[in-house]
Assembly symmetry: C2
Homo-oligomer: 337 residues x 2
């Protein structure tokens, strides 16, 4: 298997991302095709004592799409960017999956323009995986591909999220919940009401509404569906709550001797906390619904996060996730949904 | 001053809420009018060795609106509920403010029907106060009064939130931010784009977009405006993130001897954490934009939370917040907004 890695558009320098790609290549025994400025990549590889060959190769580009560029224009204008070149190469079959920590909107727009959607899917959705207190995972889809959703978009997010949960994460009979502001059926805005009805009527294991305050502790469902604006706010707010606690704790255990001693004694507890709730390190989020395996990594991804995102892409490609989503959709069409 | 307390509709039994009311009455040297079943209130007061008189009096009712009832129907049908009676008494001038931990939708619907809106305000908004890492506060409005907002609703939330910040919380020159999924102007959904433009053109100190992951640690603004669906998801997710960390920590410091020793040594740090980020204990959220002082307490409010909500109501009433909001609106109208 060969995975394409966009090393230019992240917040951290290409060297850091290349390090993650090299680590993933060795760990998973796969080939990595680095998309970006070829001098930067080749000198980074040589510093890491890696040869350019079949294991590690370069897809050269002269442009970079930055985080703040308007996505659609950026993709249209920067035809020789690491992002656009990567997607064109994926489409052409030069790789099995594409990983980018770059401008999320540009990855989504580029994927739709260049790769195209799976037949029958109205909109792709980004599926983030969040860890729970018990060390299990919940999928949240969409976390930012579509910021103005129609009700049926969320119905397809549910199907795609459930397929991902079952076929990639190995969750049997995944239960689906709708992110809402109360558990009762009548709660929520117009969109939530319509989606609730659609999900209730669909041949999907819909478990009703779920709320943000009990997701991580009670894990009421396996897959949470929501509009991409809400999902993005949800994800960032979760990160904000956790980092607020961490910040207060960190000050406490560095403030004075007593705190330092306590911090030392509780080191395993804090390590477990970091391991369990390290949102900015976890996985990378697959863009589901486009006709190619694409994983969006966090903009602030370091080498470890990139390695983890490549591993997510590897698992999705290996499980032939897109074929399974396409099969699910065609099953629906035959049954008149 | 006399404050009305609805003791029937919360998650906890009336006795617990009455305890909070009694504590607030003594602490603030104000009168409390308890709205609810008179036998329940009088026996609770007698158990607390309090006499019924001017300090503590009863507004009797025979019905209770529960948490799960559809708000509008509940308010229309249950004319002799503690909630409806309380609002009618507030409207009649029997009290200076009304505090309820009951069905939020019913409080909002009842307030609009019975008390009415301040002239010029299209929709009321619930203003929650969230503590930051540095021990300061941020106001988030709306957190659930309106789940389908038009752009101009958020403009008025901004005006009301800023007035509350300045005149009740004593924040000089409060800065306003729009809850969004990126800080750049172009980020967000259609609603966010329109609100961004409205806020930029308004005579308000608008500081741009803010995101959930840095609010508590960086505190970029004093007032955050958002649609009530988003605001409610935001608030509950913050609570969820914090409670997930607390749950892991709690297991860690109770799991084995080492954890217990560490927990004992770090007790002051954990106490500070609880004090700073005790979301379910903090304040109570004023419903701004209706022509009376109304504070919505958390459904799970205990005595301490009720005392704190009464204190918030007391401060809002004392600062004549509604008159100041009305004056702000009429200033706008004169200036052609």
């Amino acid at each position: 298997m060969r995975i394409l890695l966009d090393v230019m558009g992240g917040d951290l320098p290409p060297d850091e991302l290349i390090k993650g790609g090299v680590a993933a290549g060795h760990a998973l025994d796969i080939d990595i095709l680095f998309s970006g400025a070829s001098d930067v990549i080749s000198s980074a590889l040589s510093r890491m004592h890696e040869r350019i060959g079949s294991r590690f190769s370069i897809l050269p580009s002269s442009q970079t799409i930055t985080m703040t560029e308007p996505p659609v224009q950026a993709v249209r204008k920067k035809k020789d960017s690491s992002l656009v070149n990567g997607l064109v190469a994926l489409k052409g079959g030069d790789a099995d999956a594409f990983v980018s920590p770059g401008n999320t909107g540009a990855v989504v727009a580029g994927a739709v323009f260049i790769i195209g959607r799976i037949a029958g899917i109205p909109r792709p959705g980004i599926a983030a995986t969040i860890p729970t207190v018990e060390g299990r995972e919940i999928i949240v889809i969409d976390v930012g591909a579509n910021v103005d959703c129609a009700p049926d978009h969320l119905l397809y997010f549910a199907l795609m999220g459930a397929t991902y949960a079952r076929d990639v994460l190995g969750i049997d009979h995944p239960q689906i919940g709708l992110l809402n502001i109360g558990t009762e059926q009548a709660k929520g805005n117009k969109l939530a009401h319509r989606v609730y009805d659609l999900l209730s009527d669909a041949p999907l294991p819909f478990a009703g509404n779920v709320e943000g305050h009990h997701l991580l502790t009670e894990r009421p469902v396996d897959v949470v569906v929501c509009d991409g604006f809400i999902g993005n706010v949800f994800l960032k707010t979760l990160e904000g709550g956790i980092s607020a606690v961490s910040s207060i704790l960190s000050k406490g255990v560095h403030g004075n001797l007593r705190g330092q001693v306590g911090g030392l004694i509780l080191r395993p507890v804090f390590a477990e906390l970091r391991r369990k709730l390290a949102y900015n390190r976890s996985g990378g989020a697959p863009l589901l619904g486009v006709d190619g395996s694409i994983v969006i990594a966090h903009g602030r991804s370091d080498a470890l996060a990139i390695e983890s995102a490549i591993s997510a892409a590897y698992r999705a490609a290996k499980a032939r996730l897109n074929e399974k989503i396409a099969r699910g959709i065609s099953g629906w069409s035959e049954n008149g949904i």
